[in-house]
Symmetry: C2
């Protein structure tokens, strides 16, 4: 039995935003025979044309309404802040039975922004595939991006159960494993393990550069690995941060308290307090399963 | 011409603290034929015995005075805070013409702690080989640890010029390239690119764990790479931080100011300010030459 045999394939799939995630999704569907036809939609005709010629998608339309009106499955893979205006446009044109999923890194705000906009005949299933790196764009896409990756699904009380089951099997067919989380818990967790670390690394690089730009000539593997995520797209992270701002403000307050605690230990030369603080972190870091 | 041909080898070398750096130094000397005999000294007889049986050192003595009294070259590779008591003990017993180097990550405080303790017939050359990772101990040692690495030397107005030249050629013979820096500048630079990033990553792991310990189950490559250095030895980093505290306090203040600026942008929903801030960091990070 080959992959996808048990999965009822989608006839028409539309990817809104064929970037790293969107184009990887399309390539994964096509490679595994899970969709008959994938249409791409983007504001950039250049990206769309190159995506078709590279085989990332089968066809394209720059008009999202035209691109989505006959789709059975629609993936929202544009920046999160664009979901609301985009769904406002496409929702009335979607065909009955269509399933909409997203790949946004923030869930509560996305759900409150768009869940109520869909007609009753359309199902929205909020998803967050945990895949990708600091790169972006279709050239960074990979057909095996979701293989072995976690896909978090954050259903709400309004989520259609049949659509939820179908979407889960789709991600499993793409090689992902599923975690179902409450949207608010998801946003707290991803503030902690992803959004806030990005914010901290952007800030750390600015601190170094502001205090002595010439120091950046002396960075080694430790600094370079720590700040790799500061290579990420500023526009993308600006939007994720804005849409998860209450969690991030809490993270900033806790971090400032932690740094202030370290500062006190330095000022009072309380070496033991500093070691206890570092030891606690080291123990937690060493305990991360599979952590590199 | 084979390696070391141009280098007048040391007869007797003593390594105080045969950990990752000390044992690597010894193995590198022996592999390249740059020393006739290497003696190790540590408080732990277990480490010394295993170092001799593993061939990291030729012989050992648990008494630093006995270990150093007939040495031509002495490497201080114990934790930085131990240098002062150690040198206070060994300095009067050192033979005329001996050269002492260290491998401490902090230079101004080390120099003010020990430079004045040596007799006039002994030369001290402050060194900081930029090598190693989050591991520690002789088992983490490698004979090629210094190959291609930078060794920073921070001479003072008191440094003997002949000894300085000899020490420079030694590091070059071990495969390192030399940067000569002012000690205070060195400490500022390494606060920025190493000591402060360690402090920030220890703090970040504690923030995540304090805010929701269950979140650590969801970390990915970004978080894991960023916080790899939080696996480092708490005792080692406690001491480095204490000995570079004035620079670190300034770093903490600048970081808190940066985080406060980000918090304001989040509260006022000033997305443009946030993007400018992130973009500035991304540009600096992407410009790091050879940065991974």
């Amino acid at each position: 039995m080959s992959e996808g045999d048990e999965f009822e394939k989608f006839d028409k799939v539309t990817v809104l935003g064929p970037g790293m995630i969107g184009a990887s999704f399309s390539r994964a569907l096509k490679k595994r025979g899970l969709a008959t036809h994938v249409t791409g939609c983007s504001r950039s005709k250049d990206i769309l044309e190159s995506s078709v010629s590279s085989g990332y998608i089968d066809s394209y339309d720059t008009d999202p309404v035209a691109a989505c009106s006959d789709a059975d499955l629609i993936l929202l893979a544009t920046p999160v802040e664009s979901f609301k205006p985009l769904v406002t446009k496409i929702a009335p044109a979607l065909k009955a039975g269509a399933i909409v999923i997203d790949a946004g890194s923030v869930k509560s705000r996305v759900i409150s922004d768009i869940e109520g906009l869909f007609p009753e005949t359309v199902s929205f299933v909020p998803c967050h595939p945990i895949a990708g790196n600091e790169r972006s764009g279709p050239d960074a896409s990979e057909p095996e991006l979701f293989q072995g990756a976690c896909c978090i699904i954050t259903p709400t009380e309004n989520t259609n159960q049949d659509a939820l089951i179908r979407v889960k099997s789709l991600w499993v067919a793409l090689g992902a494993f599923i975690e179902e989380l409450d949207p608010a818990y998801h946003d707290k967790v991803y503030a902690l393990v992803s959004h806030f670390p990005h914010l901290v690394m952007f800030t750390l690089v600015n601190v170094v550069s502001d205090m002595d730009d010439s120091a950046l000539r002396f960075t080694g593997a430790g600094f370079d690995d720590s700040t790799r995520i500061a290579k990420s797209s500023p526009a993308l992270w600006r939007n994720i941060c804005m849409m998860n701002k209450s969690n991030l403000i809490e993270c900033i307050d806790t971090m400032v308290a932690g740094l202030t605690q370290v500062k006190s230990a330095l000022i009072t030369e309380d070496a033991d307090a500093l070691e206890v603080f570092f030891k606690r972190a080291q123990t937690k870091r060493l305990a991360i399963k599979g952590g590199r």
